[in-house]
Symmetry: D2
């Protein structure tokens, strides 16, 4: 390598997203182990079936497991499997599916429409979902076929099991399949402190997109069908859609590391704890408003304009929302306590000086 790693680090971006972190040590160990020797391609290696088994064990539920490259693909393919092009998918107005997939679900499904339900702190509620299903029944509007729930949500909140049960029950009553966008499912499990399978059972999830990259994998997500009938021919769908890795071991072996000794849960708890520390610290400062409950690893906060300027000068990178003065800080398995405190101190300095 002619690179210079030190010169290439980008300090300040650790709160920009939970995907600015690298691979966690356990995932990396899995990756390196898998690199030894030759292995059959396309999932016929020695690791892939083992990860699927490990996930079945973890959920305590029978399920079919597939591995894809990223979240756009996981969500889009899962949703496409639950509907036809002339169907619609109900999701929250802030759902990643709607706001950050560049039309991925519409593309992969061949035209299925997203219907946006209003949400409270990012969470769907039954009446809004029901209204979308019942307000039109004519063929000029796409027939609702799927309810997509993000757990933990895009706003850093976590549905309780009761809330999920209400949504799941309503979905089934209304004839909807349930898709769970679990890009940060691990953080939800850590927050609720329940076995993962209970979330699935509560929400009556048909298909879960289980985030890998955000919890410590270098690359990859899992698509898990608890409604196994939906999984028929899903391998073909993945292949056609450019989501079948030739050297599949590199997508799957890292999961083995991550899933061993509850490393994934440890990392999720850490991310949540760092977010909690940051949120609590910010909340104490005058003029700072935490916008949503910090249930998981995201902190949404309204900050005075001077704070934004100061943080930018200090090199901090994070998402802001135009015209609203608000910011999102994400924590991950790699977020250092010292960085949280440094960020808090940098905010504090400006607030005190006002």
């Amino acid at each position: 390598m002619n690179g210079n790693a030190a010169a290439k680090t980008q300090p300040g971006c650790q709160f920009a997203s939970d995907n600015t972190a690298g691979a966690c040590p356990e995932a990396l160990a899995g990756f390196l182990e898998a690199n030894e020797g030759c292995q059959l391609s396309y999932g016929n290696d020695a690791y892939t079936p083992a990860v699927a088994d490990r996930l079945r064990e973890l959920f305590g539920l029978d399920c079919d497991v597939y591995f894809v490259f990223n979240g756009t693909a996981a969500n889009s393919l899962a949703v496409s499997t639950c509907c036809q092009p002339y169907h619609s998918v109900i999701c929250a107005d802030v759902a990643h599916l709607e706001t950050d997939e560049c039309g991925g679900p519409e593309f992969f499904s061949g035209g299925a429409k997203l219907l946006l339900a209003t949400s409270v702190h990012g969470k769907l509620e039954v009446p809004s979902v029901e209204e979308l299903v019942t307000r039109r029944t004519d063929i000029h509007y796409p027939k609702p076929h799927v309810l997509s729930i993000t757990q933990s949500t895009e706003l850093g909140t976590v549905y309780t099991l009761d809330e999920l049960a209400e949504l799941g029950t309503a979905a089934k009553r209304l004839g909807l399949k349930v898709h769970m966008d679990g890009a940060r499912f691990a953080n939800a499990v850590a927050a609720l402190d329940v076995p993962p399978g209970e979330i699935i059972r509560a929400a009556q999830v048909d298909v879960l997109c289980l985030g890998g990259a955000k919890i410590g994998l270098p690359i990859g997500e899992a698509v898990i069908f608890f409604n196994r009938k939906l999984a028929a021919d899903f391998a073909y769908r993945c292949k056609q859609a450019g989501q079948l890795a030739s050297k599949m071991r590199f997508l799957t072996a890292p999961w083995l590391g991550l899933l061993s000794n509850d490393a994934w849960l440890k990392h999720a708890r850490h991310g949540n704890a760092m977010a909690h520390r940051l949120s609590t610290g910010l909340q104490r400062l005058p003029g700072v408003e935490v916008l949503h409950p910090t249930d998981a690893n995201a902190v949404f906060v309204a900050l005075p304009e001077q704070v934004h300027r100061h943080l930018a000068e200090r090199g901090w990178r994070y998402y802001t929302f135009i015209g609203r003065g608000s910011a999102r800080f994400m924590c991950s398995w790699a977020t250092a306590l010292a960085d949280v405190d440094e960020l808090l101190a940098d905010v504090s300095v400006v607030i005190s000086a006002r």
Copy 2:
């Protein structure tokens, strides 16, 4: 890790494909270096622009460079960018695009049709291409818009610069964009012993899909637009189609290692040399027929049925073609000379015993 690497190796599959090998040391070094610290996601890291620059330098041509997860996506997205759903793509009857993408090009393009030109040892020839373009000009048949050339071919042959120039000239005369499926482009460069840019210039390539996995990356391919107008908004296309890596550094940093000190070329030469040794060895055996010139890293050979049985018993894995008694042996950067000789010996034993 609770795994046992030794137990997990799958000896015997090294000739099954050039993607049964792991990551080469140089790529792995790039991967590991990139894992340090946090980096902005979606290609805003420190590595991705450096790889694009390195590729521009390598080709000695101005070009736009994108990184996607696999070959199905690279080829399908590149081809989709060159045409509309009601256009058609001319490729060889043995093209991977046709035979092994499960309808990927049709899916990504929204319905573009592949028109199959007859090929000789996997190579397209101008008259067959021209016939496909000119035989129909009515709107009931999709208008030909793209010529797809695989270099090196699916049958292990390599187009000469002259052959490419003929195809490229014909394509432009016929109003076709030129797509090159370069899953094994490195092996072609090694075989021709010319600067990579000469291949591009000869064939007047608009867009090249440059294989990464088959030459030593763990995951990933590059899509390189020499016709830069075609690249407009390609980033959106990748994003929508589930081909934008969040932790992009893991797709790109390994290229830095691979491209340093001509490591890629060294590996390609090695793969070609191993294939040549195998081919030459097999050719000497009575009853064995090498079916196509072994220009690159693939050996296609017709073997007596007893040989197939014996090789299977000995644990060798490779592709066979139903009813034709023929086999494909692929060599890669990782193919050991000892393995080639062991395979030859295993074939020899049966041949001698006949």
Copy 3:
């Protein structure tokens, strides 16, 4: 025929839509004339080029003209031609494109997303359009590429030339193509009393979908490209998408009748006049609120619940909007003055009795 036409009429549905009317006499004459003898298919008949010429003459602008079966197809194909799957289309929140095409634009375009601008009485305004274009510029959100304007609008209003000019200028400044949904374009021309070409010029329309069925054709719409570059290969697009009529004369010859002696304009004026009479009559009744200006041939009105019940008993059919007590009455070329007055009388009776 074993039918009994008298038994088959459905009185009471004349206000349900402007497509509950049959073919107007002039269109029917064209249809019948065209039925004589044999004609080449797929538009190579003697009528189709004549209609295209007649439309060019009518608009006084150079343009390419195509004929398709219905409005869903016209709009969806036109919009698809203006963008790629990863682009987005800005339209009013009440646009037919959004509310009544069952995902047609998403299907035909392969995934393009509709972005909804708030509207006032169904009309777009520049600030809302501009906000949608500028609020996101990252690749995680589909790039806005098209502005779709409905003239006359879905709420029966008509943009003035000044309003169109503002939208057109903004669209071009923002890099958007302009699509006009002209399902009721004729009614807008009648309302504005300007040459059709002025509407096109004001709004800088790239492609107009010109409604045929609603103004008196039995079947069919025209897609007219004033931006002729967009029309390249559009014939292929129509063919592939199932929109090329084999006996094209039956889609086109009726236009000849409709366009002769300004029959289309006469019919549009009649529909508008009937709507105006109905609207004015309703407005005089206490407890009745006309909801939008009756610029063209649609009347939107809030009626007391008892009125709805009475009208239903009397056999009147029209669209109602759940939970809002409002109704839409459409007038067409075939709406009889006596029917308008009878409807008014039926509403009146209930109002007076309250």
Copy 4:
């Protein structure tokens, strides 16, 4: 009308296709009857359910019936309903689906691939179908899901009931749905002289596309699901795909005329008889070779080059096949015996003069 009907006829094109004829008198009567008064749109008129009932009666089988605008749409939507984008459809190498839909099936299905079986005089045979299903079972090739049979075939031949039974049985054994392209189904019924339902039962047809335009309608085809489960939500599919007529009565009422008093069958018999007369006449001429059995209403014939020149000079229009000297002459309900004899005489003249 400012047209001049006489000037607009195109004599000489009556053999170019069976869609160069206009609407037959019975269909026209239905069209005209339906034009009276107002009718609810989108199929809620008084005619549409009556046609569906009439078709159910005709086939003597329970079925769901839909009406679309043309054959491309009928076939593409029917096939799309039988498969997913990653599946494949087996059809004859000469199938209209493959050769003349401009990628329609691929477009509507979102990427399903056509697999071409060799055919004999346009007819599929079981071994070739079976070979396509069984030769690949890996996920890199789209899984065969549909068998498409054209009856009567594109080459003017008609499958016997026994031949259909063999194909149907094989299809079901191989797990394939059966689609029948019945653009000229009427001609097949006339040729076989059996009740239409027997053809359906023999081939175990899941969905039939029943041609309307070619047998005398002005516009339109029917899609008939004998496997009614497939029809679930098909109305939505039609709507989204631009195939729901607003003034549906004009697509359906003509069927009532056509289906009354076996008018359709009378017309089909006439077309077949004219083709038979033409074929028999041509066969008698030296140097003329009839290429396929003239079972239905198409005559395929190889003619000397001078004949083609003479016919062109005389104004005859018909399809020719490049480089093969062959021609297709289609007969329809409107083909006049005198025209057949005139065409024969024109061919004769040249032949005699040689």
